[in-house]
Symmetry: C2
Subunit: 112 residues, 2 copies
């Protein structure tokens, strides 16, 4: 999977309020499928599908012990997005600096 | 529009490689529709649709002077996403600290 595809999946995973709800919950600590489903007001198959999207997006990992599958955040869940956004902000700052420099170099109009 | 809907739109806007390409380009400075469309390998109507999604998502703004419409980044384009991610990272750090404290409080096993 290329970096572009990986960022695609990441943003797609995040572009859903239920999935972001699971991320908000899991950021506070691991939880079982049952615990995640309880407040979600969605049927279990839909919950499992959302969790699979988050797992494919590299945001969460899961582990099954006995009959209980527990989800937790990946410690580096936000690394790719942070890197991408930081690069854009560096570019925006550089563009702003160039503009400021260009404006400073415009000669002031002289009175005659 | 609620904050949730606003973050939905934001992530949806970002979950497309063409739209992220436009954001990458615009982070380096304003550009006309023509300049944005040139390297994009997409038909103009599709470009305009993508740009509208970015504008609705609060990421870019546009201005029409004569027959030329120019797009630029909103200075606060990444604010909402940064706030959301920062809150999740705070929660993850707090959860990690609680775990570390709990582990430190487990009494060591004594030899008999």
């Amino acid at each position: 999977m290329t970096e572009t595809e990986s960022i695609d999946r990441y943003f797609q995973a995040m572009a859903d309020p239920y999935r972001r709800g699971f991320v908000e919950r899991l950021s506070k600590g691991p939880a079982s499928v049952k615990e995640l489903a309880a407040p979600a007001n969605v049927q279990l198959p839909a919950v499992l599908k959302h969790l699979r999207v988050l797992e494919d997006g590299g945001i969460v990992v899961s582990e099954k012990v006995g009959r209980v599958r527990t989800y937790r955040m990946r410690p580096d869940a936000f690394k790719a997005i942070n890197n991408w956004v930081e690069q854009r902000q560096r570019d925006m700052n550089a563009a702003f600096d160039r503009l400021a420099t260009a404006m400073a170099e415009v000669p002031e109009e002289k009175d005659h």
